[in-house]
């Protein structure tokens, strides 16, 4: 919203009271934010009117001239000029040395092809008066010499650019802003008298309101004998400064009125209104309307239109129609000033993509009691600008208007705001804002009834009044207090959200401790990218910004892999960047093909938190290359195991893919298929598959042009959290035996298909109760053992908590273990 300082000053006596900058500060502190001030003389400093005394050819360049110019007093100045359109005696704009022009050009003394130039003669383009210009600006002969150009051109206004909030439609005009400023500065805004028309008459055009509440009021005025022509210069200038383009005197009058009082109005060529009537009605489905912008729209039937006896002639509150627009030969006008339902106007403006200045004012609501005044002012302006005579005026209103009463206790403001506000002060502020305050005389301190002015549609509850009082006194006058705690905070034992949040943080901290960096990716990606991973989103955005933002992710892996691929593009020397990333956030799943709300709280979209990670590169962050080693399966597995340990998760198991029952159609099938079948594990939480971990499938890796082996894992964190030790439970202490343990190492020959966990499980079972620990400490396959066999080194540790163990007892247990290994797994001792 652009507001002219000069125009405002005509309404409120600002000059000498505040500067534009100070006013901007005051209004911003009252909630009317000024984003910037555009001074029209910006860049015109040191640009002075001058007269050419002499024009000589440049000795070195045919296309340049040397002009000697005078500023009226002092020595003439020598200026080198490249233009051809000037002659001796012309009045021109001289940018003196030190000028910084509106287009950014800075003027210095300098030699141009060997001749000194003490400034520059300006073109309109250089002064940003026009988009382009041939030659320099030649001023009228009557122009005084030696005066600042800005003054000569009348560029002395300052435009305040506001960023208005949606509730202050009443300030979308100069008069509205003047009212606000008047209240802020304690000044009374003033305007020239507007003679009110008599709306009890009958216009040659009959007004018919057929849409009930959607258009409850319509004021019309009939004018004859107007002469359409260009607007006077002051009006063109004013409109342009405020971002509007001059059309003709009648249209400009309507536009000026909107900037003055805030109400959009419309002037029809009365001769083009067929059937002698104006109807406000709902459009017919499929009805066509040619708008002022020369485009024809097809109406849906839900819009409100203005029509004459035959056809729609305007989209109500949004834009007029071309058929009835004011044209050069127009002499008779019919003026419209109406009240339309804000929602109705907003919908129509959106539907037909025409969020015009008019529509933006209607949708915020306009003073319903001002229509007569506005219509009268429009007629006055038109007669002033285009001549003619008001023949008649009429108004149709459906029902009356009621003003809302707000009941409030005098003490309320002080109590609610926490600032010093006496009832007297509060009352004064409300009165200054044009509110009416009714008090029951009899009782001191009894409730007030406050009525807001009709233009303040945003004031309807006592909190609204509190804001008025607070912003008038200044929010800085509100004290700072700490609210009282009247009950205990949440218990981590009983508030699920509290323990869940703590577990989330523990998960993140654990992964951080394991050397992973957290990443946060968008919740959405493209369908195409998901498809590369065999995945499809079940929840997509209807109006995405681009296809990159369309599909809510069912898994975090595709984005994580993309992160890795992107990172690999940035090399450090010849090395690919090591990747160690994790992410923990919701994924989105809908069982229904179409997402649709069922009730106020249910969307049908399930959000499952998933934890994913991707690692690649050397095992160590620093050190010499040959000592680092590449990450392998066991590094990836370590992350998962350490996490489970840290969370105290019970009942989580791993199994090889070969044992998996996940098949096509299972939600995790795509993830499973992404992995190397022999270097991956399926993670089971109880009976359910909770996720996978393994090497990105070499085929996929090649397809994506991955630069290194990438180990990825994803686990359903919601499942995991259910199996984890509650955060309020401390990990119980475990004692150890004070008596020395006995260790026995076994070198075994094992068939390849016997897995390590079988060997240790059998050992612990057979060695009960003395065998407490069994661990594999070496594995060998190769020339020293026969084909199909593996050499496995196992250490079993025996002890008792309560006594020293005899060698013979460990010996006996070892024998049992060996027998069990032989019997159950076909394992033999390596000789």
């Amino acid at each position: 919203m652009r507001i002219s300082w000069n125009w405002l000053s005509e309404m409120v006596d600002l000059k000498g009271v505040v500067t534009p900058e100070k006013l901007a500060e005051i209004l911003t502190s009252r909630g009317l934010e000024v984003e910037g001030i555009e001074r029209q003389d910006q860049g015109f400093g040191k640009v002075i009117t001058a007269q050419i005394l002499e024009r000589l050819p440049h000795p070195q360049a045919d296309r340049l001239s040397i002009c000697n110019v005078t500023l009226g007093t002092g020595e003439p100045l020598q200026i080198v000029c490249g233009a051809q359109n000037m002659k001796v005696g012309d009045k021109v704009a001289l940018a003196q040395v030190g000028a910084a022009l509106p287009n950014g050009m800075k003027i210095d003394t300098g030699k141009i092809r060997g001749v000194i130039s003490n400034g520059m003669l300006c073109s309109e383009e250089e002064l940003c008066l026009k988009d382009s210009a041939e030659g320099i600006l030649i001023l009228p002969e009557s122009t005084p010499v030696g005066r600042p150009l800005a003054e000569v051109l009348g560029r002395n206004d300052a435009i305040l650019v506001f960023k208005l909030t949606a509730n202050r439609g009443d300030c979308m005009s100069h008069w509205g802003m003047a009212r606000e400023i008047g209240a802020a500065l304690g000044l009374k805004p003033k305007r020239a008298a507007i003679p009110l028309l008599d709306f009890k008459g009958k216009t040659p055009v009959t007004i018919q309101l057929e849409a009930g509440d959607l258009a409850p009021q319509f004021y019309g005025c009939y004018i004859e004998g107007v002469k359409i022509g260009p607007s006077p210069a002051w009006l063109v200038k004013r409109l342009e400064a405020l971002g509007s383009r001059s059309i003709n005197n009648v249209v400009d009058a309507s536009n000026l009125l909107m900037l003055e009082l805030g109400h959009p109005t419309h002037a029809y060529d009365a001769d083009q209104i067929k059937g002698g009537r104006i109807r406000v009605r709902l459009a017919k489905p499929g009805e066509r309307l040619k708008l002022l912008d020369a485009q024809t729209i097809t109406l849906a039937g839900t819009e409100l239109v203005i029509s004459d006896g035959e056809r729609a002639v305007g989209l109500a509150g949004v834009m007029g129609g071309e058929d009835s627009e004011v044209r050069p030969q127009t002499t008779r006008l019919f003026l419209e000033c109406a009240e339309f339902n804000p929602v109705q106007v907003r919908r129509a403006a959106f539907k037909h993509q025409r969020r015009t200045d008019a529509a933006q004012r209607f949708e915020k609501g306009l003073d319903p009691s001002a229509l007569g005044l506005v219509t009268s002012r429009l007629a006055q302006l038109i007669v002033e600008l285009a001549g003619g005579k008001v023949i008649s005026a009429s108004a149709v209103q459906l029902g009356g208007q009621t003003r809302k009463n707000i009941t409030v206790q005098p003490q309320y403001f002080q109590d609610f705001l926490g600032m010093q506000v006496s009832p007297e002060k509060a009352e004064q502020i409300l009165l200054d804002l044009d509110c009416d305050v009714f008090k029951a005389e009899a009782q001191q301190g009894s409730a007030w009834t406050v009525t807001a002015p009709t233009y303040r549609l945003d004031l309807s509850i006592k909190e609204d009044l509190a804001e008025e009082i607070a912003r008038t006194l200044g929010y800085d006058k509100i004290s700072a207090t700490i609210p009282k705690l009247t009950s205990a905070p949440q218990s981590i034992y009983t508030a699920a959200s509290a323990s869940r949040m703590a577990l989330l943080n523990l998960t993140k901290e654990t992964l951080k401790a394991l050397g992973l960096a957290e990443t946060i990716g968008f919740a959405f990606t493209s369908k195409a990218w998901l498809a590369k991973f065999g995945m499809a989103s079940t929840a997509t955005v209807i109006n995405p910004l681009s296809e990159e933002h369309e599909a809510l992710v069912p898994s975090l892996i595709p984005t994580l892999v993309k992160n890795a691929l992107d990172c690999w593009r940035h090399h450090f020397g010849s090395e690919a960047l090591p990747i160690r990333l994790f992410e923990l956030r919701p994924t989105f799943h809908s069982a229904k093909p179409e997402i649709c709300a069922t009730g106020e709280m249910e969307t049908g979209v399930e959000e499952r938190w998933k934890l994913s990670f991707a690692i690649s590169g050397p095992r160590w962050a620093g050190g010499l290359q040959n000592e680092q080693g590449e990450l392998d399966f066991f590094d990836a597995k370590a992350i998962l195991e350490k996490l489970l340990e840290s969370l105290g998760a019970r009942g989580v198991r791993f199994q090889p893919q070969s044992a998996s029952r996940v098949a096509a159609g299972h939600p995790l099938f795509a993830l499973k298929e992404l992995l190397h079948p022999g270097k991956s594990i399926e993670i089971l939480a109880g009976k359910d598959v909770a996720g996978y971990l393994g090497l990105l499938h070499p085929g996929k890796s090649r397809e994506l042009k991955a630069q290194a082996a990438l180990w990825i894992g994803e686990i359903d964190w919601d499942m995991l959290s259910k199996l984890s030790r509650p955060v309020y439970e401390s990990k119980p202490f475990k004692s150890w035996s004070e008596f020395p343990p006995i260790g026995r190492d076994f070198a075994l020959l094992v068939k390849d298909d016997v897995t390590a966990d079988k060997i240790t499980q059998v050992a612990l079972k057979a060695g009960k109760p003395l065998a407490k620990v069994a661990k594999i400490f070496d594995v060998y396959r190769g020339s020293q053992v026969s084909e199909g066999m593996t050499s496995v080194a196992v250490r079993v540790i025996f002890y008792e908590e309560t006594r020293s163990l005899q060698e013979a007892e460990a010996e006996a247990a070892s024998t049992q273990i060996l027998e069990a290994w032989k019997k159950e797994l076909g394992v033999v001792l390596r000789s």
Binding site: M419, I478, T481, I520, A523, L552, K562, L581, E600
Partner: protein, 345 residues
């Protein structure tokens, strides 16, 4: 015999003193004290000596044995030390070679900033709750006093998922879920991702917010101000100031934009400050007193009218705060998953 012992002893001491290696030392020990050593040989013939002489000779022999043992120990220590000196002189690492460091993990600046903010508000009694990111239009908008076709909808460009379903544009919906599920007092913080269809250098289609809500009897606007001042001073410095400016958010009344004094320009506002661009203030929050319409939706309407139930709410963008605190120049860095960014924090 005593002369013989003396000769052997002094010769042994001389030999030990000059022994140049541990091997030579052992040789000398064996040649004197070994089973067939010189000293042992002499003592074997002790039987031929008279009973009076025997203790004397024995004493002399023991005295020599003791001296030799001591000399042996001494020389051994000398040689050990010399050997160690040689070894130490040879053993060197280039301490300037790179250390074999483990990978250092990191939490995203958004997470760290969120945790820090939560920590501050927790101290004065706020609890943390979260809610769904895919939300009903009703809870996201209608319940927040932003009905369909209201101009305030322009403030939040929305991603739609289906009839009545949106990606939440703020975490206000979580507050409403919470209020509907329980009675007052309510003191909650709602952190989480929110979505708006806007993307450029300063807007991301997904970003993070923390909203706070405090509902109780007789809560004042000054309580809001005091709470936010405490927050600003805990996050930006004990001398931080805040400034409230009237503004409009449909879910609060009165509403305010909250600025915090620039933490770079503590003593004097620099016109070229990269943080506040010379204004001295940083816009970081929106806030206000809970609009009574929300109490009606929450089922608190009766208590609002009869028990003076009031409340305040505030919301802040976490990225904005994180960018200020860490000096991150571009919002987009937050979501690109670039390890060069993520590993820094």
């Amino acid at each position: 015999m005593i002369e013989k012992l003396d000769a052997i002893g002094s010769q042994a001491l001389k030999d030990l003193e000059t022994a140049a290696s541990l091997d030579r030392l052992e040789q000398v020990r064996i040649s004197v004290l070994g089973k067939k050593g010189a000293l042992s040989e002499v003592l074997k013939s002790l039987g031929a000596v008279s009973a009076e002489e025997r203790p004397k000779i024995g004493a002399v022999a023991n005295e020599w044995k003791r001296k030799i043992d001591a000399a042996l120990e001494l020389r051994k220590a000398q040689l050990d030390k010399a050997a160690l000196d040689v070894q130490l002189a040879q053993e060197r690492v280039d301490i300037s070679l790179p250390a074999r460091t483990p990978h250092r993990g990191a939490l995203h600046p958004i997470t760290q900033t969120t945790q820090r903010i939560i920590q501050v508000f927790s101290r004065i009694g706020f609890d943390v709750v979260t809610g769904p990111e895919v939300e009903t239009d009703y809870l996201n908008f209608e319940a927040a006093n932003i009905p369909a076709d209201h101009p305030a909808r322009d403030m939040q460009d929305t991603f739609f998922m289906g009839p009545g379903v949106v990606l939440r544009t703020h975490t206000t919906s979580v507050q409403m879920r919470m209020m509907r599920a329980q009675s007052w007092p309510v003191r909650i913080l709602c952190p989480g991702a929110v979505y708006r269809s806007d993307s450029d250098a300063t807007h991301s289609p997904m970003f993070h917010q923390i909203e706070g809500l405090w509902v109780d009897q007789n809560v004042k606007m000054s309580d809001l101000k005091g709470t936010l001042l405490f927050f600003a001073q805990e996050l930006f410095g004990a001398d931080a100031k805040i400034r409230l400016r009237p503004s409009y958010f449909p879910f609060v009344e009165p509403g305010a934009e909250v600025d915090v004094s620039c933490f770079q320009c503590r003593t004097k506002i620099s016109p070229t400050c990269r943080v506040c661009k010379g204004s001295g203030w940083l816009e970081i929050l929106g806030a206000g007193m809970v609009h009574p319409r929300l109490f009606d939706v929450a089922g608190y309407g009766e208590d609002y009218r009869s028990k003076n139930l009031t409340g305040f709410a505030f919301g802040l963008g976490i990225e904005r705060i994180a960018m200020l605190l860490y000096g991150i120049p571009d919002l987009r860095l937050m979501f690109q998953g670039d390890v060069r960014f993520l590993n820094q924090f």
